[in-house]
């Protein structure tokens, strides 16, 4: 089952970037207030706006986030009180980590854990209904990265609680990332250059991101749901898998683009989160291009501390399995996500130790195709939370079952959109833009952006609200 409809139940009223209230009420208010007020006030204003943004639709859980902020702020002050290498310092870190994970574990994984326990041991513990606060996976991981960096001495602890709060709750990356490390914006928190060039660049990035989300991802979403949820044929299964592959990329990367663009408008530089992942020619390369903030977080804070690849191949395999199981689990509190993570662990391990040498000799486009197939199949695992539904999906893929003509016509209706998506996912547009962005063409691009913005507004008006996939993580 796609995460889409699952979220719809919870996200009535929350604010996302591709939302009329955000675009035409919140954003102008933020820009107006911060740009026209003295620089010294801006961080506090940003903090307040971010809290408002978060509280929109889920007011009670702002308090939770504030509590987490406070807790990590204090941890950031306590840890340095102990000298490096002492047990006290380790204990303080451990305590902070445990608390953070406890919060995340409670809100996100209690149900999953209890249900699993019930199923394995036959116990009948009643599973309480716990609402998953938005963005908790992101801000907990962000906060943990801060405390660990303080522990490692890589950053100076932030003594100003308001500034620290601004970092954690900064609305561009709060709900769906990218996972911003404290040390990346520590300097900009204190002082940032807000130039017109940056502002304009941020706008451009933002509009592209919005278009990716509204004009491509949402459309692909309609196709995905129709093909995977209601149809029974083989072709529709493949089409659905391809559509979902596009949907999830444009949805997530579109949102990241919007986050980066907004950051830019406000004077922050966030790191890129996606680097055209679908041009990858190997699974290893894919994970260096997809959701980079997450994979680098896991590498830095889990894989490397576990030993990474420095303790022999057997240990490396184990480390990979652990890291990827956790990566999968981070995406959702359900067994299929863990399976998805392990699926990639297996592919990565096999690629590294078994067939990597052979596939490297294949022509580029074939390697890309194989990688895409592997990735798409992975998305199939990711999409189906119910094991039975996944089974019927797989049997659809590898059998020959007909689809009615109406279904094929419906799928064909999305072919132009799909082709445009393929082009947009490749490196071609960016390369072209880089070449053409001089001279008169930049005006053409401006007009194009205006057109995109109008079309996005039209699409949003046409469907009243519009949640997207990743913000529950």
């Amino acid at each position: 089952m796609s995460v889409f409809p699952v979220f719809n139940r919870f996200c009535e009223g929350i604010m996302v970037f591709s939302d009329l209230i955000f675009l035409f009420f919140f954003l102008p208010a933020v820009l107006l207030v911060t740009k026209l007020s003295p620089a010294a006030w801006r961080n506090t204003e940003l903090l307040l706006f971010s809290l408002l943004f978060y509280a929109w639709g889920e007011p009670v859980y702002v308090l939770l986030m504030l509590a987490v902020i406070l807790m990590n702020y204090l941890a950031g002050l306590i840890v340095p009180r102990f000298s490096p290498g002492t047990r006290g310092r380790k204990a303080a870190l451990a305590a902070a980590i445990v608390l953070n994970l406890a919060v995340l574990g409670y809100f996100k994984y209690t149900g999953f854990f209890l249900e699993g326990l019930n199923r394995l041991t036959g116990s009948r513990i009643s599973v309480p209904e716990i609402v998953l606060p938005i963005g908790i996976s992101f801000y907990i991981f962000q906060s943990m990265s801060y405390v660990i960096d303080v522990y490692r001495g890589q950053v100076e602890p932030q003594r100003n609680p308001l500034l620290f709060g601004t970092y954690v709750s900064l609305f561009p990356q709060l709900i769906a990332g990218p996972i911003v490390r404290y040390r990346d914006i520590a300097a900009e928190l204190l002082e940032r250059k807000e130039t017109r060039g940056a502002f304009a660049a941020g706008i451009v990035r933002f509009v592209y991101g919005l278009a990716k989300k509204v004009l491509i991802a949402n459309q692909m979403g309609f196709l995905t749901d129709r093909m995977l949820l209601t149809e029974t044929g083989t072709l529709s299964a493949w089409v659905g898998m391809a559509a979902y592959t596009m949907q999830i990329y444009f949805d997530f990367s579109g949102y990241s683009d919007m986050a980066i663009g907004l950051g830019r408008m406000l004077g922050f530089h966030f790191r890129e989160n996606f680097e055209h992942p679908y041009v990858s020619r190997s699974v290893t390369e894919f994970w260096r291009r997809w959701h980079m903030s997450l994979s680098s977080w896991f590498r830095e804070y889990v894989y490397i501390p576990l030993g990474g690849n420095r303790k022999g191949p057997a240990r490396q395999v184990l480390n990979l399995l652990i890291v990827w199981a956790l990566t999968g689990l981070w995406h959702g509190a359900a067994a299929n996500f863990i399976l998805w993570g392990l699926y990639y662990a297996a592919l990565l391990i096999l690629e590294k130790f078994v067939f990597g040498r052979f596939t490297a000799r294949l022509p580029g486009f074939l390697r890309q195709l194989l990688t895409l197939l592997a990735v798409a199949f992975g998305w199939g695992i990711f999409y189906h939370t119910d094991f039975g539904l996944w089974q019927s999906f797989v049997s659809r893929l590898f059998s020959i079952r007909p689809d009615p003509a109406k279904t094929l016509r419906f799928a064909a209706a999305y072919l132009p959109t799909f082709l445009i998506a393929c082009i947009a996912a490749s490196e071609a547009p960016q390369a072209a833009l880089r070449k053409l962005r001089r001279g008169a063409f930049s005006w053409v691009e401006t007009l194009f952006l205006v057109l995109l913005f109008i079309l996005c507004t039209a699409a949003l008006v046409n469907q009243s609200y519009n949640p997207f996939i990743y913000f529950r993580f």
Partner: protein, 758 residues
């Protein structure tokens, strides 16, 4: 330089765009209702603590902003055209096709609903058939415009229609071929609405008439009135605002009609012209959706004068207009709103034809056909009623008090309890019930002035009949005859009695009641004699032209005699039995040789009389007596009965005083009359106030006469009572007169006189 300008332009455009909208939003007036979407737009949300904390406030605010977004319709249009441009036609609900027409996607076939609907119709058809009402049932499925007009396109309408028509137990109308072979099929459906045009509805009406073999309307009968532009439902749903609108055609026939619907409103035409001002102008036809519409053709319709029941969806709004010209009455029922069984409509509205009309789309998805039902019984009864010969009359099974109005019930001493029961319970109020002890057929037949007391005097039957002039005479005599003589002489006496009655009143209806069974056989008469007489009475009812009422069986026990618990002594019955007697008197089944002129009109089927004839059931409630002011006489009576113990006394009022005691209201100003509640005591009390002393003297004479009559009547019956009566007191003082028949008569008289002193 250029870059700087460029940056500024980008920033300017963006900031302008995102700030213009909120300003416009706040300034622009908000509409409550969207005509285009046919729904209420989200109102401004209320800010309360709960709504804020639970998050519903922000959700409502989001919807509020979206619903009232400036230029909303423009953006919806942009989005729709962009969808077209992106080639997503096959994924849109409505897409433009040849001729600038908006087509809907081929309908999804839901086999479950299709079969369920066919089952509902077939069950209904079977019920209809079992009523044998000869009402043809027809199914009309309307194909979608795409299936008629587009050559390819995968529309399943034809196969759905074929399947449905194969499986339905009704006639059907093949619109698909009618439409496809029409001169210009494009004219049959609107371009911007999912309904058919008036032209399409007209063809459908003709097709239906042909299926039934009835005359078909002609185009020349109509003048066309066009209303443009018409932007239909497809237009509103599609967002393709550049589509050319339609024009609405009203086909006017000039037929005078009256249209009513369930709201109670009445319209003089099938067209509701005020609806033309709304966005959805299709509602001009019969005012859009209603659960029940009744069109009465005031000119009577075409020659057949038939009535049509049309079970439909919204396509019949325009179809109904054409059918209204052809039928006397068209009743349109929409099962989405009308959930009652159709039984009442079928019976009350005299339906001759039933047409079920649905578009294919609705037929595949609308589950409301489950409400199509009827109870065949009432319809079958109505049909049988119509087929029965007129004026079917029969003997009623139950009688009411009014049957005995203006009648005279003559009985002997056994009869007394019946008269008291009726007096006490307000039954048989317009009947004179006279129980004269010792009376016999022989005496009456020989006009012996001994025991027949009428209005205080000894009378003969002819005198009684002449002055009373009853319509019916009910006779319950026989005991005394049998006691004195036997069965055979009694039967002769009966014959003579009948002859005597008919001499005076040849047309009078005579009812003879059976002799009651006796409890214990006596020397003077026994049950065999009673049975013998009753048998003779029964067998000779027709010969001698009377009606015989057999009541005995209800009082008999296993021995064939009166039940012990019903009787005081051997012949007389306890008052507790009188109710049973009364009930059985009203039971028509006890009557043999019932007079034909008293037959009632029946509906022939259920044996219930027709309205306006005799009504059956409980006797009508006695009317409220106007309360009577308490007078001196009441006080006196109260004093007397307070101080002297009397047996249970019954008050005589109204007509009974006159017929029983012979006193008319003119004789006295105020009077109170009481006698013993059962026939075994002679107690009587009269208290009267006369107009003057002369009148008082007249009343005194009457009282004295009464003493004599009463004493005599009890002489051979209950001698002690006779003596008490003889010793009774009749007294007058001033204008006041009293009669006391009682063992304590003297004392009563004293009290009376004393009370008058005060």
């Amino acid at each position: 330089m250029k870059k700087k300008l460029h940056n500024r332009i980008i920033i300017l455009l963006f900031c302008l765009a995102i700030s213009a909208v909120p300003v416009l939003f706040l300034l622009m007036p908000k509409k409550d209702f969207s005509e285009l979407e046919k729904r209420y737009l989200e109102p401004a949300p209320e800010l309360t603590r709960e709504s804020l904390l639970s998050g519903t406030f922000t959700g409502q605010l989001g919807r509020f902003v979206a619903d009232h977004f400036p230029g909303r319709e423009l953006f919806v249009g942009i989005n729709a055209y962009f969808d077209l441009l992106a080639g997503r036609e096959a994924a849109m609900d409505y897409f433009p096709g040849p001729g600038g027409r908006l087509y809907s996607q081929p309908v999804e076939v839901d086999e479950k609903t299709l079969n369920a609907n066919l089952d509902s119709i077939n069950a209904f058809a079977r019920d209809l058939a079992s009523a044998e009402a000869d009402i043809p049932l027809t199914l009309m499925l309307v194909p979608s415009p795409g299936s008629v007009l587009l050559k390819d396109g995968d529309y399943p309408d034809q196969s759905v229609i074929s399947y449905a028509y194969d499986h339905v137990e009704a006639r059907h109308v093949d619109l698909m071929s009618t439409f496809r072979h029409a001169q210009d099929p494009e004219l049959l459906y609107y371009r911007t609405d999912h309904h058919w045009t008036s032209e399409g509805a007209f063809l459908a009406a003709c097709a239906y008439r042909r299926v039934l073999g009835l005359p078909v309307p002609s185009r020349e009968d109509y003048t066309l009135q066009r209303y443009a532009p018409f932007y239909g439902s497809a237009y509103s749903a599609s967002g393709l605002w550049l589509t050319e609108p339609d024009s609405l055609e009203l086909w006017l026939s000039g037929t005078p009609v009256q249209v009513r619907n369930e709201t109670g409103s009445v319209n003089g035409s099938v067209f509701y012209l005020n609806r033309l001002e709304e966005q959805d102008r299709y509602t001009v036809f019969l005012d859009g959706n209603h659960s029940l519409v009744r069109i009465e053709n005031l000119s009577g319709g075409s020659e057949e004068g038939r009535n049509l029941l049309l079970i439909r969806d919204s396509y019949s709004n325009s179809l109904g207009c054409f059918l209204a010209d052809l039928y006397s009455k068209v009743i349109l029922v929409d099962l989405r709103y009308y959930k009652l069984p159709l039984t009442d409509l079928l019976v009350e509205e005299d339906i001759d034809e039933i047409l079920i009309e649905y578009s294919v789309d609705n037929f595949l998805h609308d589950t409301n056909l489950a409400f199509l039902s009827m109870d065949p019984e009432p319809l079958r009864e109505k049909v049988e009623l119509e087929r029965r010969p007129p004026n079917y009359y029969a003997q009623p099974k139950e009688l009411t008090d009014s049957f005995f109005d203006d009648s005279y019930y003559l009985g002997d001493s056994v009869n007394g309890i019946l008269s008291y029961y009726c007096l006490n319970n307000g039954k048989l109020r317009n009947t004179t019930i006279a129980s004269n002890a010792m009376l016999s057929y022989e005496e009456v037949a020989h006009q012996v002035r001994k025991h027949l007391i009428y209005k205080g005097n000894y009378a003969t039957l002819p005198e009684l009949l002449e002055s009373e002039n009853p319509k019916k005479l009910i006779v319950a005599l026989g005991c005394n005859d049998l006691a004195r003589t036997g069965v055979a002489p009694t039967t002769e006496a009966v014959v003579e009695f009948l002859a005597l009655a008919r001499e005076t009143r040849p047309d009078i209806e005579i009812f003879i009641q059976s002799v009651m069974p006796i409890r214990v056989n006596m020397d003077i008469f026994n049950q065999d004699e009673v049975d013998g007489l009753n048998t003779w009475l029964r067998e000779n009812a027709e010969t001698y032209g009377y009606c015989y009422i057999e009541l005995g069986d209800y009082f008999k026990d296993e021995r064939g005699q009166m039940r012990a618990e019903y009787s005081y002594n051997d012949t007389h019955l306890k008052p507790s039995v009188s109710k049973l007697w009364y009930q059985q008197l009203l039971n028509g089944e006890n009557y043999h040789n019932f007079p034909e002129k008293d037959y009632v009109e029946y509906d022939g089927v259920t044996n219930l009389p027709v309205e306006g004839a005799l009504t059956l059931g409980e006797a009508p409630q006695p009317e409220e007596e106007p309360s009577r002011p308490v007078t001196l006489l009441d006080e006196v009576y109260g004093q007397i009965t307070g101080q002297i113990s009397c047996p249970e006394m019954l008050e005589l009022t109204g007509k009974t005083v006159e017929s029983y005691l012979g006193l008319t209201p003119d004789d006295y100003l105020d009077g109170r009359f009481y006698l013993c509640a059962n026939n075994l005591k002679a107690d009587e009390i009269w208290l009267m106030e006369a107009e003057d002393e002369a009148a008082a003297q007249a009343l005194l004479e009457q009282a004295r006469e009464r003493i004599r009559v009463k004493a005599d009547s009890y002489a051979a019956y209950l001698p002690e009572e006779s003596e008490i009566a003889r010793r009774g007191a009749a007294v007058a003082k001033g204008r006041y007169v009293a009669l006391f028949l009682s063992p304590d008569a003297a004392r009563m008289q004293e009290l009376f006189l004393a009370a008058l002193e005060e």
